[in-house]
């Protein structure tokens, strides 16, 4: 069964360092998302991406964050200068099309900022 894959599963970084989280969405899906879950808190929407551009972003998704789909398969989330409060589980998700509601999630990348 097709699935969304994410790498790395866990990354530890020093405050101020750049981090790139990678995702391979399901191959025929058109919509891509990043969500964040701080330990013990609810899952929060960060950004949605469609047709090679950001379609919507939340207040969390500030100038330190960026996304891109460099090669038609990978979908990446970059945090330019990590802060302690960026420590969280980051989930990538994809959706097939406009009329389908279901998002398929990856297993997440745990980011720990020291």
């Amino acid at each position: 069964e097709p699935e969304v894959t994410q790498t790395p599963s866990h990354q530890v970084t020093q405050m101020g360092q750049e981090v790139i989280l990678r995702c391979v969405p399901i191959s025929n899906h058109l919509y891509f998302y990043w969500y964040r879950q701080i330990l013990g808190q609810k899952v929060e929407f960060l950004v949605s991406f469609y047709n090679n551009e950001i379609s919507e972003k939340s207040e969390i998704f500030d100038d330190q964050f960026s996304v891109e789909r460099p090669d038609g398969s990978n979908f990446t989330l970059k945090i330019r200068s990590t802060k302690l409060e960026d420590s969280a589980m980051y989930f990538c998700a994809s959706k097939a099309g406009v009329l389908t509601g279901e998002l398929f999630f990856g297993e997440g990348s745990r980011l720990t900022v020291l």
């Binding site: 509601g101 279901e102 997440g108």
Partner: protein
Amino acid sequence: AQTVTQSQPEMSVQEAETVTLSCTYDTSESNYYLFWYKQPPSRQMILVIRQEAYKQQNATENRFSVNFQKAAKSFSLKISDSQLGDTAMYFCAFMKHGIRGGSQGNLIFGKGTKLSVKP
């Protein structure tokens, strides 16, 4: 803005029994989806069941069913014949329905209910 509220932080149920998880939401939208996602300790979020707001019939998926009360903005999940593998965090989520590009699709999640199924 939409909000989703899950008032039960934790619940437990004996194996083979039935349990109901509560969810309420607030929105001014008329067209939307509601979902229940399961997040087991393995952490991947898995769709359990979904409901389209324009459908009056409650969705069912095997042992999982919902009680969707649109006027009351309530969307509870019933798990029948609970199994040990149902132990997980359950999230209720809301999504606006739209046709303009990818603008719909961001899920609004509740805080989750931790369900423990006891043998």
